[in-house]
Amino acid sequence: MAENDIKDAFLEAHFAAARRVDAGMPLALEARMLADAARVQAQQVPVMRPAAESPRRGIAGAAAGLVQHFMRVLGGWPALGGLVAASAAGVWIGVAPPDFLPDPVGLMVQYDTEVNMLDSYELSSVLPEEG
């Protein structure tokens, strides 16, 4: 039992020495890690940076935060750009559809066109003359 205690103390002295030696952190490695973090952060949250650098307060700040949150949910500026482009294309197709597509306005309104055929003819030419 006593021998085991001595062995444990012997080993523990080595473990303790290792812990003391390992406590250091090279500054260059820390700098590399922080540079990695900044790079990843810039890619992940580009829309959050302006708010972090110039925080706004009150209703304006809350609105800005809401807009930023909305932007982030959408996927940031690239996703928003795609959304705007798709919307513009949809509007344009609606206003000026290609020939092979039906007129969307006509499909929605379903208006009728009346043609008065009788106005094209002289009544006298189709009605029998009396007498």
Binding site: A13, F15, A17, D22, G24, M33
Partner: protein, 221 residues
Amino acid sequence: MARIGTISGPKGVRGGPAAPPDGRNQPREGGDASLSDDALVALFANGDEQAARHLTARLAPRTLAVARRVLGDRDEAEDVAQEAMMRLWRMAPDWQPGQAQVSTWLYRVTLNLCLDRKRRGKRVGALRLDDVPDPPDPGRTAPERMQDGARSDALQSALMTLPERQRQAVVLRHIEELSNPEIAGIMEISVEAVESLTARGKRTLAAALAGRREELGYSDG
């Protein structure tokens, strides 16, 4: 060899003493002690730059220490530690608070990266004494620092003779001071298996170091 799996268990921050006079290596306290690792990861994901500093100060020294002890090579260990932290940064937006401990997740990632390095046949070996940074504790005298360095170096040489799993278990249990259940979660084995690995590892270490007692300053037995 199976990769290391499930996450469980926290690891407290082992704050070091003040910086050494030469400033080459700085022991770090655990960042903002009022915030949990989960909270810091969430802040990082939301663009908080200070969160990265706190997380690095809190987690990176232990990540580096584990990699160094498992790989036995300082340069390789630095690469692994940097890559492990990179994975933390990338994972941050998807982190689910409360489902696991960030520190334990990082231990798992670190050990897996170490395994990958060994599989790829990267150079590994005993830590050379001149590779080891100066002990950062200014309260210890120069002879004490030298003795720490010698014992740490001798321990590393002995660790490198252990089978991989034994070395991982011993490092996590006796240098990182994690609990057996925590280690079981990280290594995805039972607590009994952890106890067996560490017991066998300690016996081998004791035998390997026994012949160097006087050299390492154990003249009184």
